[in-house]
Amino acid sequence: MEIEPGDFVAIVGPSGCGKSTLMNIIAGFDNVTEGQVLLDGQPLATATTPPKPGSDRVVVFQNGALFPWKTVLENVMYGPVIQNMMTPSQAEERAMDLLAKCGGLNKVAASYPPQLSSGMQRRVEIVRALINEPKILLLDEPFRAMDTVSKTVMHQHLLEMYRVCRKTIVFITHDLEEAIYLADRVVVMTSRPGTIKSIINVKLPRPRTPNMMLSAEYLALKAQAIAGVHEEAKKAFERGEREHA
């Protein structure tokens, strides 16, 4: 599987198929047992080289990992300052600029994360990743714990951020509709052992709007994807039943 710079790729699959493992491998938190991951032709991780996280691949975790002891602004400034990429005052300026661009988050810059709604926290987290100019933005089920309404709002925010910065995004989710709506390509994984079952190219035009979820093209893609995912989910479920029997 190959991901082009600037692509928005979604990875879907039944739970336990290794979506998050794949993400941890790309990010460099987990060891590779077989095969390799290349970034710009350079090996990131192989079975023999130990993993190494880097600021070219920043993760937004599903449960949220903002530092609760830092304000929003300090959270966003953390990366560039610790890498000595910017002086604190430069970082502050850049952070405020990015926060403002991403839906007026500069208004809450002095707040501590627990004071924000989960949607805001997630957006701040994405900004904290973006300020490091990563080559790849890894999103691990970032909207998992949200209700449908907030999710829709967050999708628009994410699409807007994507439009502005055009980073390569790898988006992990178990929500098919979300995957098709957001991504250029949807990778469907099989249940264990997790391999790629199919890759669906989404040709919906950008900018995407919620109305597109009603278009014939969207529905056709969804039907195609559901068939694939459902088959895998059933396999995973049956295996689970057997294992617990």
């Binding site: 990010a27 880097g54 920043v58 993760v59 990992a65 530092f67 002891w69 610790i82 809450v108 004071q115």
Partner: protein, 261 residues
Amino acid sequence: MAQDIKSKFRWPQFNWRGAIAIVGFFAAWHFFVKLGVPGFKEIAAPFDVLQTFLTRYVNNQEYWSSWVSSFKRVLYGFLIAQVLGIPLGLMLGTREVFHNLAYPVIEILRPIPPLAWVPISILFWPTTEMSIIFICFIGAFFIIVINVHDAVRSIKNEHIWLAQSLGASSGQIFRRIMIPSVIPSIAVGMTLGIAVTWNVVIAAEMISGGNGLGRLTWEGYVSHTVTVVIIGMISIGLAGYLSTIVVDYLEKKMMPWRVVR
């Protein structure tokens, strides 16, 4: 609101229910004594206690120096416990080999109540003062060690991974991620520790101390002056309360992100 982070200092609202309860407590005490309710025959009435306090204790140098000695013991024992206990907890949480080596010993020593250390402490330390401070130290030490140790073990992996991704060195991760992550548990350890230290110092003074609030209370009992016993008890209550206020204040300073909710 989220915006007014740096909110101005506000006086706590007057708790009139609490005030009524305190008045009610003293009234009940007064009437129980006056009516001669069983068990209260030997107890001094609140006004007698107040009178004794005003006439014999307010200007009594010795009374105030027992406050000072008890406070000193609590403070030294408590501080030494934090200074040694926090690094030990961090070491136990981060160094696997050290953990396997030292943890069993700590687990054996931890359940021993501080007062069980009194005889050994008196034999070991050259002065009574040092042995009391040592017992206070024991009271707070294991609490802080265990709290910090548990906190280190439950630091979110995501936080460490993220810091690694963003290019933090292991030293930076220790200072910027681990230390702030364990501060809330240090605060819990301090709150529990100061309370235990006060319990312990009073008992230790009754057993061996030449002075202090515990000694004052005990001497009141031995010389059959109930008013003194009660003055001692109320003094201990106030002293503990004062320490709690100080510790709470320190905790708020340590965790600015917890103050505004």
